[in-house]
């Protein structure tokens, strides 16, 4: 439960309100290994602690990477961190994306907004073992072109012949010539075999609910759809109950859940 001290090695501004921190352990000890989809509790000393998904490459654990959206005091403090500044890290916690289990199948990744950050580690693993999968399709939606995350990487992925990358924005601005429309509108045309596809979905919960509807319309089975859920989190080790979601805890049973297990809970507004 004690945060391990890390130093900021590099900061990178991604969009107007989102930034990436690259961290290294201050004690020179072993790097943190993690599964794609897992989270860490990041502690801005003197300010507070928040759960943030790991957004780096699991194959390169020497540098711990987190992409963070500034939404309050703690994340604002993290945004003001400079190289060599410190913060605390606890983790990794939670379940990961079913990257290994998806071998042999098509993989459909649907990301909304900052939801691309927790999915990026999964994409790194899929690309590293590309020959083990069928079609790999990334559908990414965000509010405006200015909110597109990891733009350079998206362009690199889009230039590959063995990846299908489709980006859309809710609202076109400037000289945007790309797709306009909600990310769910990309699903009917996406090139994957519904009967042999594992779908990994991360984004605002409303977006994920509508995404699941479209996936099921295409014929993807509920047990082949995985969502990354989010609730307030404090202890991250299943004691405090803040992240309780029905009979589950997001911190230890999630954040990645199979949709067929989640379906009855999503309809209950009280949780």
């Amino acid at each position: 439960m004690v945060p391990r001290p890390y130093s900021v090695r590099k900061t990178q501004r991604e969009t107007a309100d989102t930034f990436t921190l690259e961290l290294v352990p201050q004690d020179g000890g072993p790097a943190m290994t993690f599964a794609p989809g897992q989270i860490n509790m990041l502690y801005a000393f003197g300010v507070g602690e928040v759960p943030i998904s790991i957004s780096g490459d699991p194959a390169k654990p020497a540098t711990l990477v987190h992409t963070i959206r500034e939404v309050g005091a703690v994340t604002r403090a993290m945004r003001n961190l400079k190289p060599s500044h410190g913060l605390g890290v606890r983790g990794p916690y939670g379940s990961g994306w079913p990257v290994a289990a998806a071998r042999g199948a098509d993989v459909l990744i649907v990301a909304g907004g900052i939801g691309l950050a927790p999915l990026r580690p999964a994409l790194y693993q899929l690309i590293a073992a590309r020959q083990d999968y069928g079609r790999v399709v990334l559908l990414y939606g965000t509010r405006t072109p200015e909110d597109i995350l990891f733009r350079r990487e998206l362009q690199q992925w889009n230039s590959r012949f063995d990846l299908d990358v489709h980006v859309t924005v809710d609202r076109a601005t400037g000289d945007w010539r790309g797709n306009v429309g909600v990310v769910t509108s990309l699903i009917p045309r996406a090139p994957f075999d519904p009967e042999s596809t594992v779908a990994m979905v991360c984004g605002p919960e409303i977006m994920m609910r509508f995404t699941v509807q479209e996936l099921q319309k295409r014929g993807v089975a509920p047990e082949s759809i995985y969502l990354s859920m989010e609730r307030n989190m404090k202890c991250a080790v299943g004691f405090c109950g803040h992240c309780q979601f029905g009979p589950t805890f997001i911190c230890k049973d999630g954040p990645i859940f199979r949709y067929d297990r989640l379906q009855p809970l999503l309809a209950i507004r009280e949780i």
């Binding site: 309100d17 959206r69 907004g113 900052i114 965000t142 509010r143 859309t168 045309r189 409303i206 977006m207």
Partner: protein
């Protein structure tokens, strides 16, 4: 014609329609192609057809004096373009500009409108299908309006 017949009779949008109605649709259909940058339809013009997009990309746009053309939705392969032909005053509400060379099947909406006045079953079948298109677009528009990506 044979090719159009095959396309329309197997197109998911027309699945379940009676053979005589499908035959009528074939008679009202034609293959069309639009180069990038061209407009398929313009705001305010008479709306007398609709399109099954088979290939390419089309931007639905609205023009404002300060902002110029604003893309509000992108349509592509498999999408249906145009429903103002069904609803008075039968005028297009937006521009549809071709982003990537587009091939489509154009259907004579004016003819189908007139036929539907006497053949109510045809009218009902068309309205059922276009209702779903409208619902899908409304749902998408609502999601866009919700601004789901805002921090909460």
């Amino acid at each position: 014609m044979e090719d159009l017949k095959n396309i329309l009779t197997t197109h998911p949008f027309f699945a379940g329609m009676r053979p005589e109605h499908l035959q009528l649709l074939v008679g009202c259909a034609s293959n069309v192609r639009f180069d990038a940058g061209k407009f398929i339809l313009r705001e305010g013009e008479e709306a007398n057809e609709f399109y099954l997009l088979r290939h390419g990309k089309v931007a639905l746009e609205v023009y404002g004096p300060a902002r110029g053309p604003v893309n509000i939705q992108t349509l592509g392969e498999g999408d249906i373009l145009g429903w103002s032909w069904l609803v008075p005053p039968y005028r297009w509400k937006f521009d549809a500009r071709v982003v990537e060379m587009t091939r489509a099947i154009a259907l004579d909406g004016k003819c189908l409108r007139q036929k539907s006045e006497t053949d109510c079953q045809l009218g009902y079948e068309l309205l059922k299908r276009f209702s779903q298109v409208m619902v899908d677009h409304l749902q998408a528009a609502r999601l866009q309006l919700l601004n789901v990506y805002d921090a909460h």
